[in-house]
Each structure stands twice: as C-alpha cells, then as structure tokens.
Subunit: 268 residues, 2 copies
C-alpha cells in the first residue's frame, strides 16, 4: 500500500477551521498554501452564491471533500433537497447529515431516533437522483439533546443497514475516539466511510461546542484511528475541522492553515 | 409489583448535591426532612473521622446507598483498600468505582482499558473479604480523557463478565441516558445493578462537570429509565447526585433537600 501519511494532497480544510474567511478567501488561501481540497459549510457557499461558488472552486482546481451540512431532522423536506442541490452544484463528494437532537420540549429519545431514520429515508431518493451520497455523522454523546441523537458508529451503521444504497458515514475522530467499540465499528463500516474528519480533544475542554483542539494538541491517537479508517480501503481526503472560539478562530487564518498543514504531516 | 414511585424511603441524598454541608449537617438535614438514606463522598466522611462517621450514620438510623468513590485506576492498591475499609465502616451497600482516564501524556485508550480491568481485579479479593460490593460506574463519554475511560454500560457489563462475583454496576441516568443501547444493556445488567443515580441533562449545558440539573429541569426521561432499572428486579435506593457550581451549590442546602424530595415524588 502506498504510504499516504505525508501526502498533502489528502488534506482538506474545513471552512469552520478558518471561520473568519469568506469562501473566496478560503479558496485563495488554500491555493496559496498548496492545499488542494476544502470542505465548506453552507453559510459561506450561500453568501457567495451557490452557482458562483461552484465555478470559483472548480476554477481553482480544488476538490470538495464534503458539504457541511444538512439534517437536524425532523427538517422540512424542502430544506434537505436544497442542501442536496447545493452539494451537487459545488461538486461535493458527499453531503454530511447531522441528525438533530430532541424536538423542543420532548424527552422521547427513541421517537427522535425514528424521526431521524424516516427523515433520511425521505431525502434519500432525491439525493440518489442527484448523485449526492449522504454521510451520516454520529456526533459525540454530549450533543444528543440539542444537536444530534445519533451518537455512535454502531447506531450510524445500523441506519446504513436499514436505509441501503446512497447512505454512508462521516467519521470524525473527535466524536468517536472514546468508543470502546471503535475499531469494530469502523471495520464494519467498510466502504460506507465517505469522509473522515479530525481535530483533537483537549484536556481540559472548556466548552461543549467551541473548544476543540488542533490535531496534536489533545489526547486522541489520530494516527491509529486513521489506520483503522484506511484499513477499510478508504484513501480519500482528511478534513481538519476545528471549532475553537477562544483560540484558533482568533488567529490569522493563513497561519492556522500553515499549522494544519504541518500537523497533517506529523500527527494526523 | 408494589408501586414504588412515591415511596420516599427510596430516596437517598448524595453529599455532592448539598456540597456546602458537613457529614453532620447532611445527617441532621436528612433526618429533619424525613429522608432515610444518604450517599456520602469520601471527603466529608474522612473529615468527620471514619469510625465516628459510621456511628453518626447508624445512630441516626440512616442507610448508606453507596460510598463515593474509589478508582481512578491505575491507583495504588493501598488507596483502593482504604476506600473499601471506609465503605465497610459506614455500612455502605456498595463502593462506587470510577475508572480513571488516560494516564498523563498517554493516548493509549486500549491500554487504559486494560489497566482499569487489572486494577479492579487486584482490588476485588480484598473487597470480597470485606463484604463490600464494587460498583463500576460508566461515566459519560465526555469524561473519557480525564475521569473515566469506561463510558458505556456495555463496557461495564463486559467488565463484570470478566471479573465475576463481587463486581456490579452503578447506573447514573446522567451518564447513560443518550445510549441507543440503554434498554438492552440495563436488561443485560440484571441483578448486577447495585445503585441507581439520577440528575438531569440541561440544555444548554454550560460546563462539562459542574452544570448538572435537578431532576425535571432537563431532557432525561427519568421515569422510563427507572422503569428499565426496576424491571431487572432492582428496588433499591435512588440517589439524587447533582454537581452544580453555579446553581444548586449556591442555594441553602435545606431548600435543595426539599426540592429533591418533591422531584423524587413527581419526576424521578
């Protein structure tokens, strides 16, 4: 097998990592740094205009590892289809789905699980027709109430079993690193892995959402998890996606990019 | 089956819930409120003196649902044995074990899992001889790095399978409510459940450790989880354990006790 560990063409920069940047700045910054792939969130694509965004990205020769994100089921079908259209317009390899948490005022977790499954099933024919694979991303269990009630790879794999063709997984090391069943569930996922994301778990973590670490600054054994993912045959892009209100979002984005590239070579 | 839902003799107050109180104040406060069981942490027992603590609790006619806590493996054997002795001295029905997180500087989660298993195995003969059941408490996955690397009931059940007699589980709704496998793993636990703890998951949660809610103030379907636990045959005490630096720890403890009692009747 080719040694991929230092292949910079595998690095994708998620737009959340350089949050102050517009899509145009992200594209220019990546080109300047020799980074060949991005994973944009919808806000910057919509702000630029979806069709123009597609041209800009293609014109710069960049790949789009995935599009972040749709979901938060039960969502209006129309919103999900719009996200599929946008993902297609920018040539994203997959559309990341976040399950959504408990409906407001509800404590019915099993009911929320059913709504998520039914919501994805309802979106799936449209996504299949558009040629956009849907990537279910299990989020860390600390988001079960308010962001995503799919919190383990086992649950996400079960959903894939139920939903069939056109649905796969987004594996984010931050969300799944703690799972004692990690190796088995990544192996079970196999070809379903559509996109792989990394950042790091800081000790201490000061905020449930916005205190994620640069790869190498925390406790996640990223190289081991990457090896599990690549053992399934995945040799796609690796997104660095960092939510960090008090640190990385306050730095000069070009400098953040430089450090991402360096860490990609050394610890991712 | 007897309807236990409003039986106040099943309520136990964990000393962490009324953190400003000494053991003496906790005992007096519970007796005054008609609460018949407590779950003390080691700090207040040691501050009172272990032998005197046992006399105080017995003299007041209180039960001790569990003793919090030992563990943080790999721990010195001596420390674990001291915790067993203290649990025996105060008549605790079990000693709660917290696994401990990653050793400082380590990213080897699988290695930490092995250390925890070996640490419990090393303590077990002493605990068996002392007649103190060990209750492994899986903590929420957000504590995997720094507090406990046993984060699911499935993992804790596996440990019980491996370790055998003398080891059971502490089920805390706060730590396990999100788990899609919850019902199955509680059923699997069966008679292993030694103690059942409750508090609530707040939305938003502002701190990973110290922002837990009073039962009823969050999103956990406590009555459903209790029903799962009681379906195993468990009809023991229910501990209310709340870490709440910015709210409940700032209130008058007697008032907190009154509200615990009320919520025990209505939502636990």
């Amino acid at each position: 097998m080719r040694d991929l560990s230092n292949d910079r063409s595998l690095l994708a920069i998620n737009s959340a990592t350089v949050k102050p940047w517009t899509l145009e700045q992200l594209v220019e910054g990546c080109v300047r740094a020799g980074i060949t792939a991005i994973a944009p969130w919808r806000d910057i694509v919509q702000a630029h205009g979806v069709e123009k965004a597609g041209s800009l990205i293609r014109g710069a020769g960049l790949s789009v590892s995935c599009y972040c994100r749709a979901g938060l089921f039960p969502a209006a079908d129309e919103a999900g289809r719009r996200a599929v259209d946008e993902a297609a317009a920018i040539g994203a390899r997959s559309l990341v789905l976040i399950a959504g948490g408990l409906p407001k005022g509800s404590k019915d977790l099993a009911g929320a699980h059913r709504q998520v499954r039914d919501g994805i099933a309802a979106l799936l024919p449209y996504a299949l027709a558009a040629g956009v694979p849907l990537a279910i991303e299990p989020l860390h269990p600390m988001y079960a109430a308010d962001r995503a009630c799919v919190n383990t790879l086992a649950h996400a794999n079960d959903l894939c079993d139920q939903l069939g063709e056109g649905v796969g997984l987004a594996v984010d090391a931050y969300h799944v690193w703690w799972d004692p069943d990690l190796a088995a569930q990544i192996a079970r996922a196999g070809e379903r892995i559509l996109t792989y994301h990394v950042c790091d778990w800081l000790v201490p973590t000061r905020d449930l959402l916005l205190d994620r670490g640069m790869p190498g600054d925390g406790v996640i054994d990223l190289r081991s998890i990457r090896a599990m993912v690549e053992a399934t045959g995945y040799n796609g892009l690796i997104d660095i996606e960092i939510f960090s209100a008090q640190n990385w979002w306050k730095r000069e984005p070009a400098e953040v990019l430089r450090i991402c590239l360096e860490r990609h070579q050394t610890v991712v």
